[in-house]
């Protein structure tokens, strides 16, 4: 029972810190926007939501395991015009994410581009007008 309570509390704490990090990083200034790193991994969740979308990815850690990252995307309206949809990404999809890392070193990034397993590219914006 004690162990069970501990697990639940740990899960709640993890959920709380995750959501707090979403709120804390909602502005571009939270990210090193001129640094673009690359991560490959498997989609855990694709949140098509306002004001910004979120792609939760289990990123390969290079040692046979994975670590969860929260990648912040642009607003649904912006991404619709760039060719994304609410269902374009699904749990289990393999993706490569170009992202700018959070300035505070947490496992949160801001998406520059997502490349899907079949080579399709999801950009941040439509071609320049």
């Amino acid at each position: 029972m004690k162990a069970c309570t501990f697990v639940v509390l740990t899960m709640l704490a993890a959920a709380g810190s995750f959501h707090a990090s979403l709120l804390a990083h909602h502005s571009n200034v939270g990210f090193a926007v001129e640094t673009v790193n690359t991560a490959t991994g498997v989609v855990k969740e694709w949140k098509w939501m306002n004001p910004h979308t979120w792609l939760i990815v289990d990123v390969d850690d290079g040692k046979g395991g994975s670590v969860e990252w929260a990648m912040e995307g642009r607003a649904p309206g912006v991404l619709l015009r760039a060719g994304w949809t609410r269902t374009v990404l699904k749990p289990g999809d393999k993706v490569t994410v170009h992202y700018s890392p959070s300035k505070d070193g947490s496992k949160v990034g801001m998406i520059a581009r997502v490349t899907m397993a079949d080579g399709r590219v999801l950009p941040n914006a439509p071609p320049a007008n």
Binding site: H19, L22, N28, N50, R81, A82, G83, M110, P126, N129
Partner: protein, 267 residues
């Protein structure tokens, strides 16, 4: 007679609530005015703008490997200083800007109103990076910004801001306008002092804005904006925004931006 009056009243009401006009007229009915109604995106916008026309592209395999992106968004923390085109601030307001710059470089969103789901406010609202919808009637023109679902109204019926309005500043301010030929001239007052002129350039509660809005060619709308602020600015600041009108679906449809959804989710 009574019946006739009733019919006339019904006709007047029907005409008053009719869909936005396609051809506006002056009160005298003599001159046809430009119709600004429609959905627009900024020309040469970085980020949220639409393409020149046609449907959004479906994600496709590129013909050859794309070069890796070198940035995710424009640098907006002030770490490279102020642009030569930026408003020239008085020493008092330059200090405020520098304090916000330091906070932003450290990664803080404290100086970012839209990150808190607040309206972008005038005049920064007219960047319209996520698209703009203009709704026009004879007596009022309404500007809608997809970013943060923000709205401003420009009254064209001759009303003026009252003392009560001037005592109640808002993010969009209070705008009145008139036509000078084909140009819509708009004056905006009663603005809150916690919005930004552009980027995170601060201003005082004495800021006022004049705009001259006109079509410079078919479908291309220009807004020449002059910002005056005797406390914050050394001299009035002028900037020009240009927008392209969309011609059909899906690009002439803006999307809902229910900003609080994400904030609520985070709680």
């Amino acid at each position: 007679m009574t019946k006739r009056i009733a019919l006339l009243t019904v006709a007047a009401i029907a005409s008053a609530v009719a869909a936005p006009i396609s051809r506006a007229q002056t009160p005298s009915g003599a001159q046809t005015l430009p119709d600004l109604s429609g959905v627009y995106y900024p020309v040469n916008a970085a980020g949220g703008g639409a393409r020149a026309g046609g449907a959004p592209p479906a994600p496709q395999a590129p013909p050859k490997p794309l070069p890796a992106p070198t940035r995710t968004a424009p640098l907006s923390d002030g770490s490279r200083g102020r642009s030569p085109d930026a408003p020239v601030l008085t020493p008092e307001y330059m200090k405020k800007w520098e304090a916000m710059r330091d906070s932003r470089i450290a990664g803080s969103s404290d100086s970012d109103n839209t990150a808190k789901c607040l309206p972008p406010g005038m005049p920064a609202m007219m960047n319209m990076a996520y698209g703009m919808e203009i709704m026009q009637t004879k007596d009022k023109i309404t500007f809608f910004s997809e970013l943060n679902d923000a709205l401003r109204r420009v009254y064209l019926d001759g009303r003026k801001p009252t003392p009560a309005i001037l005592d109640d500043p808002t993010y969009a301010g209070y705008s009145t306008g008139h036509w000078e030929g084909d140009t819509l001239v708009v004056d905006t007052v009663s603005l809150r002092d916690n919005t930004y002129i552009e980027g995170f350039t601060p201003h005082s509660d004495q800021m006022t804005i004049r705009e001259r809005i006109r079509f410079v060619s078919p479908g291309i709308l220009e807004d020449r904006i002059t910002v005056t602020d005797p406390k914050a600015l050394v001299k009035p600041w002028e900037t020009v925004k240009t927008y392209r009108k969309m011609t059909g679906p899906p690009e002439d449809q803006l999307r809902e931006f229910a900003c609080a959804e994400g904030i609520e989710h985070a709680r």
